[in-house]
Symmetry: C2
Amino acid sequence: MAKHALSVTRDEDFAQWYQAVIAEADLAEESGVRGCMVIRPWGYGIWERIQRLLDDRIKETGHDNCYFPIFIPLSNFEKEAEHVDGFAKEMAVVTHHRLVQDESGKLVPDPEAKLEEPLVVRPTSETVIGNAFARWIQSWRDLPVLINQWANVVRWEMRTRMFLRTSEFLWQEGHTAHATEEEAREETLRMLEVYRSFAEECVAMPVIAGEKPENERFPGADATWSIEAMMQDGKALQAGTSHFLGRTFAQAQNIKFQNRDGQFEHAWTTSWGMSTRMIGGMIMTHGDDDGLCVPPRIAPQQIIIVPLLRGGPEDEQIKRYCNELWYELRKQTAFGEPLRVWMDTREVKPVTKRWGWVKKGAPIVIEVGGRDVAGGNVSVVRRDRLYREDGKLDSVAVPRGELLGKAKAILESMQTRMLLGARERMEASISRSITDFDKLADYFDKNGKYPGWVEVQWSRPTGAALDKVVERLKAHKLTFRNVPLNAKPADGACIFTGEPAVERILVARAY
Amino acid sequence: MAKHALSVTRDEDFAQWYQAVIAEADLAEESGVRGCMVIRPWGYGIWERIQRLLDDRIKETGHDNCYFPIFIPLSNFEKEAEHVDGFAKEMAVVTHHRLVQDESGKLVPDPEAKLEEPLVVRPTSETVIGNAFARWIQSWRDLPVLINQWANVVRWEMRTRMFLRTSEFLWQEGHTAHATEEEAREETLRMLEVYRSFAEECVAMPVIAGEKPENERFPGADATWSIEAMMQDGKALQAGTSHFLGRTFAQAQNIKFQNRDGQFEHAWTTSWGMSTRMIGGMIMTHGDDDGLCVPPRIAPQQIIIVPLLRGGPEDEQIKRYCNELWYELRKQTAFGEPLRVWMDTREVKPVTKRWGWVKKGAPIVIEVGGRDVAGGNVSVVRRDRLYREDGKLDSVAVPRGELLGKAKAILESMQTRMLLGARERMEASISRSITDFDKLADYFDKNGKYPGWVEVQWSRPTGAALDKVVERLKAHKLTFRNVPLNAKPADGACIFTGEPAVERILVARAY
């Protein structure tokens, strides 16, 4: 059996493997503050790339960035009842604005500095942004309002997992207001499509875009749409959501405008968000038993140059050769941006460097020793094809000029092949042939470790009937994911109720 | 007297004028949440430009971005006593993690969900980052650690003022650890220089870089350096600080490394920050009675194109002409970046648009009407020379080709002239000839509304002697700003103690 860089493989223990990738790639670590993580430079560098590329798309679709307060007064939060039910259970509450030393010298909240009205640390900003919308919107001329914010939010999670579910996380949240229902619905789907194309084109992560069933809606929303990605263990990860909020929040927050006929009416609003969770999705889509693989478009550095210095007289020549290479590569572009190239001159053994970068998932590592310089070559390790067929590390010496000519093509094709590979895996793991609930349960309970997803036909029950179905699924640790936008029309019976099916919905275990 | 776009002039009431600029330029507004503001698109766009340009410089000097938790456990915060004294008075304290409805249905903090240990919302992150440093640093090989984070922080301010002093604000905070005192001191000054050059080159805001006196040091620091900018009312604004923390925080947080000789010793640390306050500084450096003037390098849009449509048959031609202009301008660069050009097609009267952009401080507004199209011209309004000598608005029709040829030069020279103009104003407002405390007090108390700053010689008293001097200044609402790095050597007596002076220090009223 081949030896790999991580101490635990995906097959041995997927959850432990996930933690190992994060630790070995220096992505993030536990902070010592309950449920909060420290995002380290390589992990934050990936987030910065995600931010830059997603922000461009958010701006191209006409949205402006703003910033709203982190604190929400309780009275404001209280205005939308369903929203309260959905979030009140898991929030950080600020009650004092000063500390004081008690008799023993210990710092405690100062009883004299108790807030008249407690403040909630935002778990999401519909209420505080709706408050601003009510001020900004008077007339149809003020609409649409198209706003986004990049921010930290806090949800007091009982069980946390790095990137996937942390008490504090980073995200963008878009909030828009429109004059008509149609426009707001269009916006909801436009941003769903932005998320889909971003996930696939930038993160090389194939997703299924569709509508969430009623029980999985955002608290207060009329409809919630999501993109769902399949992790290598066959579980689903909700990687972005877009909500059509109807007039619920507009009514709660009094967002009214005078229409073209001079009548006052409530606006229609939407909200949509994508978070640092995306990094967890990237890890579980592209990681392997040697660590992380970062898609070139979101890699903080795409090419790492490692000069193999030996303390001998040829070191100077190697350094000069590497410097020139660095300079030449940085003049090139891939994906319409200058290549990101980093020279690793740390005082660390070359073999440690090589495997460090493999575990971090840098797309290309170039090693340059004295023999390479003499032959005008460079030794190239590609993260997407690390081993030869005989199981040995695939490090090939290629002429320097050849590498310079091909760097862009290697990175761009690596990105495409990562997406296609993941999509093939996902498609092969969606079963569409199960027409019976018992068989569905069996499929997941007995069908190996990684059963993937099942798309079933259903009659879209609501209310108590839906709750019953959800309970039945829950007994097998199953959940509804979404009703895929591009699923075939229904043509059979509902797997849950036996009634004529109206659409198809994905069932899966999920993060 | 000329009429201006704002309802209040700087001379009438500088503080009200400041608020008017912010309101009329749609930069920000009160949020309804105590001491917190909403930063609106034009204001946030300026912040995004500041972030982008400052972040580039922070990365060029070898720093990596990370993200650390917003919450700091009290026990962690408590470790550095001076730090506690400095910050404990003004912090948001989280005591509960859940809300519950009381008997009347009102949401209240759930008594069952009281945190065992309260959490502080970070007012700054030395303690939580020091905690991570203690984990990361074992050996001299791990040093230096050069980290930065872009984050929101909260200080419970009693009197707030938009951008200048808000309970929540946005900033970057750099944190570094070094093996030697010398290296850490170099880092402190390197980042001071990054701030100085950034403020002057990007914000066109001249500053004086120097060391703060002991009483103005960051709580826990061995030395604090600042850049100080002069606002148009002659007051000083501290616009960035860089702290040499010695081994204080390393000792409190147990940041230790094994040196090359195998001995364990504490690291030397620094921290440095710049915030959204910079936007307040920009307003009060460059604004005039017609509103904001944004330096072209940090303007979210540098050129606004306003098609003057009349609903007639020539509208189509005007639109096409404007589109081509937009396309041609966006192919050009200034300051090494593509021009930022925006077409204002809102359904708003042209005169409202023009004055809206003037108040927002867009560097160049181009208006295009039927006559311009016919003559192959464009009508140009430059924000830095709004009026002709006769007091009329200076809107000049120039050939389209001439504008295309000169856009880059106009923007780049505007940026330079804004800096030079502000520097001239600042230099002319620093008095260096006062050698007597009574005259100093008189100078500020009687010398008009905008006395500017005074550089005096002093003997650098410390402890109680310094406190006495600070009290004397305070009686006249005066403060020490800093000991300028490039001041002439002392050659006289201390204005406060009469002892031989050792250096020169700036005295001013301040924000």
